[in-house]
């Protein structure tokens, strides 16, 4: 059951039963550090965040200078509502996932469409406490490390699988661009050149 508790600073901290979904004592600082790490490492055209928590990390990311579209996935209506109130950011879209399992998500056209144009998935793991298994699976889908999501993605791009061994779940969860080499047949010369260009970077 969701509820909110106030910490010593008077900050509202969301809880699932007795477990906090963000750092109880310093949720803003935790959010700021997470945002700092994201901005140091990534600068894609768009990103999705898994887990709303208290919305502190999303607020921190925007405050730290994120100006690209953000899509946030959450399973709890209450948390979505709270986040929407906290984060006033025009490029923010909060998606409430009410599917029973992650496999059901593949029947939602918007989800499939989103997978096809996927850029970056940013996990905020502490906020997964109330749906740990669901978010973990969803994360694999959103990083193309599940059979379903990889198939959706490469079929949409017009590529094909030349080595289905890559679909082994354990291997896929740890896969790197090296594993893609030879496992995916790219649809065009330009896609193949892009791939070869990347392979040169990791030689």
């Amino acid at each position: 059951m969701f509820n909110y508790k106030l910490n010593g600073n008077g900050t509202k901290v969301p809880h699932f039963y007795s477990g906090p979904l963000v750092d109880f004592f310093e949720p803003e600082l935790e959010g700021a550090e997470w945002a700092k790490d994201v901005l140091r490492r990534f600068s894609p055209q768009s990103a999705c965040i898994l887990g709303v928590g208290g919305g502190y990390h999303i607020e921190a990311l925007v405050k730290a200078g994120w100006s690209k579209p953000l899509r946030v996935f959450e399973t709890s209506q209450a948390l979505v509502h709270e986040c929407a109130e906290r984060c006033n950011y025009e490029n923010l879209e909060i998606v409430l996932l009410d599917a029973g399992t992650t496999e059901d998500l593949f029947r939602i056209p918007k989800f499939v469409e989103m997978l096809q144009s996927l850029r970056l998935c940013l996990p905020f793991r502490r906020a997964w406490t109330h749906q740990l298994a669901f978010f973990s699976e969803l994360f694999l889908h959103l990083t193309l490390r599940s059979e379903e999501s990889l198939k959706v993605h490469i079929l949409h791009e017009g590529h094909s699988l030349s080595d289905s061994q890559i679909l082994n779940p354990e291997r896929l969860a740890r896969a790197t661009i090296h594993d893609v080499d030879g496992a995916i047949e790219f649809n065009s010369t330009s896609s193949n050149l892009v791939h070869r260009c990347i392979m040169e970077m990791i030689k």
């Binding site: 894609p44 998935c121 896969a175 661009i177 893609v180 050149l193 892009v194 260009c197 990347i198 040169e200």
Partner: protein, 513 residues
């Protein structure tokens, strides 16, 4: 007209590529010149005024994702596809590849343009090797053997860009400050800082009117302050460039700061160690000096660690010699005793003249003969009656007459190049380059202390294995020379190569043993 230039190497290369941009600017005064560099060099944007716009290849970002399981598996693929799409949104008239590696070749094919110059792929296969210069560059530049062309010169010829005239030293508006750049990302190229402390102390006493500053970035500041205390100056690339612009002189290792100084005409002394090869990458500045470490393994491979138990090339430069060389730079004085101080750059400027590298090289060789008091005529014998060399005809005539006057028939310069339009990629031209390579390294090899003993053993017919053990693994080059001499035919380019291969093979065998 929009021109894009790919410069996807390190900072020093980007700074050197400015000369190519200057050449392009002269040729296309009204064109938009765009430069593409790696995103880790974002400081470069303000240091390349020739470029209308600098684009940043998202290398750092993609590399962060490549092996990170938190990132979508095909993130880098999509990111690069997006980036190429952004580049192709511009309408490029002409694209130059200054980079000459496989990655940039693939990128060249992805970029849409009316015309392309430099290494590129076509339908995934290497292409663009369409003139003899670029073929030579492709084949020889990364080898560890001397090639006798400066990197810029070779690249400009490969891409059919006219370089601006070699810049001269500029002495106006300079402050009495001598800068020292003693950090390099490559430890093979560095000199022991403890030794430099005494050099600086010595100089401070002798040159009280000059302020000595040791340049440092934030990363190395603590270490530098430990050695040089208050002499350390800490700043970023832009601030360093401003310092270099007004300094009286710069003493530097083979670093990007050296190349930066060339654009300001700052008098400089390069300390060339490890894999640094003044032939290829000396400062592109007339009057710049190089003090070169001497060791049989010099220059070593760019990607290798130092193979010697001690840093031989660094130790070969004494503190006294270095201090004197620095004083000479400040006094603008030549010192005949400093035979380690070479002129730079030593590019074989094809148009020749007394500035040409071949001329300087011959003079240098003769200089060695004089200062070491060796009688090379008698030690080498008749095999040197015939030496092939590449020159324009008028240069050959002048050079031959000078040498004849000085050495009475010792060097008979053979006009092998008569039918070779300088370097045209023909076998004869390769032979010329090889012969030049041999000549350049001869003095160091002959005057090495172990040469005499080694020579005697070889003369007595000892086998290779014994000779290798005697020479303690320092055979590279010596064996090449010995094998070369045994052939007695300096015109045989193929012989040179086979001799080198043999030397390499023996050297590797000795190392493994």
């Amino acid at each position: 007209m929009k021109i894009l230039c790919l410069s996807l190497l390190r900072l020093g290369d980007i700074v050197q590529h400015r000369w190519l941009l200057k050449g392009l600017r002269q040729r296309y005064p009204s064109a938009e010149l765009h430069l593409l560099v790696h995103d880790e060099f974002n400081e470069v944007a303000g240091l390349v005024p020739e470029a209308t716009k600098v684009h940043f290849f998202p290398k750092t970002e993609m590399q962060a994702h490549l092996n990170d399981p938190r990132s979508p598996l095909l993130f880098s693929h999509q990111r690069l596809t997006d980036f190429v799409g952004q580049l192709n949104a511009e309408s490029w008239t002409l694209v130059y590849n200054f980079t000459h590696n496989r990655q940039s070749a693939f990128l060249m094919e992805l970029i849409k343009a009316d015309r392309k110059r430099g290494l590129r792929t076509h339908a995934g296969k290497m292409a663009g090797l369409d003139n003899p210069w670029i073929r030579f560059f492709n084949r020889h530049f990364s080898s560890r053997y001397p090639i006798h062309f400066h990197y810029l010169e070779l690249l400009a010829k490969s891409l059919e860009i006219s370089l601006p005239n070699l810049p001269n030293l500029s002495f106006s508006n300079r402050r009495p400050v001598v800068l020292f750049q003693l950090d390099s990302a490559d430890s093979k190229k560095t000199i022991e800082k403890q030794r430099m402390v005494s050099v600086l102390d010595d100089l401070a006493e002798k040159l009280p009117k000059y302020e000595l500053r040791v340049l440092s970035d934030e990363r190395n500041a603590e270490e530098n302050q430990r050695y040089f205390s208050s002499r350390v100056w800490v700043g970023g690339l832009r601030e360093t460039s401003q310092q270099v612009q007004v300094a009286r002189a710069l003493v530097t290792l083979d670093t990007s700061i050296k190349h930066l100084a060339c654009h300001h005409g700052t008098p400089l002394l390069e300390i060339s160690l490890g894999s640094s090869d003044p032939d290829r990458t000396a400062a592109w500045l007339s009057g710049a000096k190089v003090i070169s470490g001497v060791a049989p393994c010099r220059p070593c491979g760019h990607r290798e660690v130092c193979s010697q138990p001690q840093h031989l090339c660094s130790q070969s430069i004494s503190a006294e010699i270095l201090a004197r060389a620095i004083e000479n730079i400040l006094d603008h004085r030549e010192d005949a005793q400093l035979h380690q101080v070479l002129e730079g750059p030593l590019g074989l400027q094809i148009e020749g003249g007394i500035q040409s590298k071949a001329y300087v090289m011959f003079k240098k060789w003769l200089y060695h003969c004089r200062i070491e008091g060796q009688d090379l005529v008698s030690s080498l014998g008749p095999q040197f009656k015939k030496i092939c060399y590449s020159f324009s005809e008028s240069d050959l005539v002048r050079l031959a007459s000078e040498m004849e006057a000085e050495y009475h028939g010792f060097l008979h310069v053979h006009l092998l190049a008569q039918n070779v339009s300088l370097f045209d990629g023909s076998p004869a031209a390769y032979q010329i380059v090889d012969a030049a390579a041999f000549l350049k390294h001869l003095p160091n090899m002959l005057f090495a202390p172990w040469w005499q003993e080694l020579n005697e053993k070889i003369e007595k017919g000892h086998d290779w294995a014994e000779i290798e053990s005697l020479s303690d693994g320092l055979l590279r080059g010596h064996l090449a020379v010995r094998a070369f001499l045994s052939k007695m035919d300096v015109t045989g380019g193929n012989d040179v190569r086979s001799a080198r291969e043999k030397a390499d093979w023996h050297f590797e065998a000795a190392r493994k043993a």
